[in-house]
Symmetry: C2
Subunit: 336 residues, 2 copies
DNA sequence: TACCCTGAGCAAAACGTTTCGCTCTGTGAG
DNA sequence: CTCACAGAGCGAAACGTTTTGCTCAGGGTA
């Protein structure tokens, strides 16, 4: 049904090779270019990327695999990357792992089957066996947010320890000494890093390690944050300040604090989602990841691999997160 | 680099046709099946979907084009659809229009170039010229959330008028008579429908049409909702209740109310994002779209088209949204 | 015995491009 | 005048599958 080169040949009388040249910037007489363009308009021709990809072994397409589509952090990065990639002539295919390692595996193989030229992945866990298949095919990979084990790949991460340490410093400067952290299992790279940064900063500022009951490893969900905050507030000696280890915890903790309204109001540092911060009163401080920069670096790394230097040793870019300070009243209330 | 049928032929001595049969469920001797599987394991073979798609003219892949990736409404629907499509043997490619009609056009052509078998689209506007190209190629399309002009396509929408009317009824039942609506331009299908439903319901319950200054057409952004709510509250006679026409308005309006904290506290019905509702105190009522059902119907419609009945006249499924009632105090405060 | 059917396999022709050689101009340098 | 070379074009061979005919053996039916 759809028009092909053969239709253009029929209309223009030119050979397939010449037509191909026209679409790929070869030497074609201006007069012939025009005839081809006329035929294209007449036939409603569009180049078939599948055939092109098969023959040329380049799809000019990158795959993006997200651990979770429904996260502002991820979608923001995707938007930023797509724009840059488009400028470089690449299309993008987005896949959602929905937090499942199996789905992630399927997504990667789906994308390899589509002959993507490269892969950007926000991995579900630290182990992504399917990436070995990508490597075997010579498809370069950039990991974002978390590095992957085996370390054959480039990565872009933030300095999670420093980010949480800055939050602790802010709270300690406001006079807090009993500071808690809502965190997830150590098996998550970001959770582990944030916990380590937290422990170190608390020790540095207070002279002793955080109390074990103030460092809660929780299921990484809104409910986890909700339960965590409630448990903290019901301790015999509750913390006067709480750092949330990610967005889900921030949202869950906020809900918990609303439900406990008035009873307790610890100081509070959120994570990741500035829109949320604007809705909460008094406006809390937030750790904000430099999503634009993350996207820029990731694109830079993958494009570098694609344009030849496949042999450069894998590189991990470490970026700094910002601490956006909220309203002072938060901290004053935390101390009351 | 990657293994092909030819490699399997080399190892097993079988013909390409037989190998193809094995991968597509034809008649192959058990012994030969085993030999092929061994070769596959040994070679790390994976079928090349690009070549397969080119030859068979079916990619077993659907394209999903979202007006805006970063919207919970969209990502939730995508997740639900992906799962169902996977069960039906289809892969999915997600593209983001970022609110731009040009990007949408590009995305559709990108997907057609990838030979997708069908398209699900949450359109940016009511006019999507690129869909004519899809039709010309025999690629079926299902529009979600908003129908597209020309109406050659199936669609799944909600009964926007009834949804907003239910919100108005709830507020009217609580005694409100001065009810406002934060809405967008009438050129947006959902915005127009919601405005019409609002006007009709207000007329029915109060005996007169809503006051013009209470029906604000705003830019569809968080800022729009923010400004809109502030303008409403500064009117000589401000409304005692406000219905938000979508998620952005809900978020913006919430921020505005937080900033005006104490001065005014109108009753308030939000839209779309139940997570947000749980964070706001007192918890407002929300119009919640049946995202799972929307996804299910959309998948049903596209699969039906793909399995033959291409000639069925286009169908528009209209689903009902739920009104999740919040805390009564919201309305009492609104009346104080 | 003759017949037809089914299972199992093969060779070769697609699918719509790109790419590899090759030919044939015309042109400017030597 | 010759030669080399670049511009412009062409035919044919890929790319990795599926699909279309075809062959052949075996077995059940009449």
């Amino acid at each position: 049904m759809a028009a092909t080169y053969k239709d253009i040949r029929r209309v223009t009388g030119l050979s397939l090779a010449t037509i191909s040249k026209h679409f790929n910037g070869g030497n074609v007489l201006a007069a012939n270019r025009e005839r081809i363009e006329e035929a294209v308009a007449e036939l409603g021709y569009r180049v078939n990327d599948v055939a092109r990809g098969l023959r040329s072994r380049r799809s000019m397409t990158l795959g993006i695999v997200l651990d979770e589509l429904n996260r502002t952090f991820n979608t923001t990065i995707v938007s930023a990357m797509e724009e840059r990639l488009r400028d470089a002539g690449y299309g993008t295919i987005i896949c959602d792992s929905r937090g499942s390692a199996e789905a992630e595996d399927e997504a990667i193989h789906f994308l390899l089957g589509k002959m993507v030229d490269g892969l950007v992945i926000v991995p579900v866990g630290s182990d992504v066996p399917a990436l070995a298949d990508a490597a075997a095919r010579g498809v370069p990979v950039v990991a974002v947010d978390r590095p992957v084990a085996g370390a054959g790949t480039d990565a872009v991460v933030i300095d999670n320890r420093a980010a949480v340490a800055a939050a602790v410093d802010l709270l300690a400067d406001a006079g807090h000494t009993a500071i808690a952290l809502l965190t997830g299992p150590d098996s998550w790279y970001t959770m582990r890093e944030r916990r380590l940064g937290f422990a170190e900063a608390v020790a540095r500022r207070t002279g002793r390690p955080p109390r074990p009951e103030h460092v809660l490893p929780l299921p990484v969900t809104i409910e986890g944050g909700f339960d965590g905050m409630r448990r903290l507030m019901r301790l015999a000696s509750p913390p006067t300040a709480v750092v949330c280890g990610n967005y889900e915890f921030t949202l869950g903790a906020t809900i918990a604090l609303n439900e406990l309204a008035g009873e307790v109001t610890p100081a509070f540092v959120g994570f990741d989602h500035l829109d949320l911060a604007r809705v909460i009163r008094p406006r809390p401080s937030f750790v904000v990841q430099p999503v634009d920069e993350i996207a820029a670096r990731a694109v830079e790394l993958i494009l570098a691999r694609l344009s030849g230097d496949a042999e450069r040793p894998p590189e991990t870019a470490v970026l700094r997160a910002d601490l956006v300070v909220g309203e002072a009243s938060t901290y004053e209330r935390g101390l009351s």
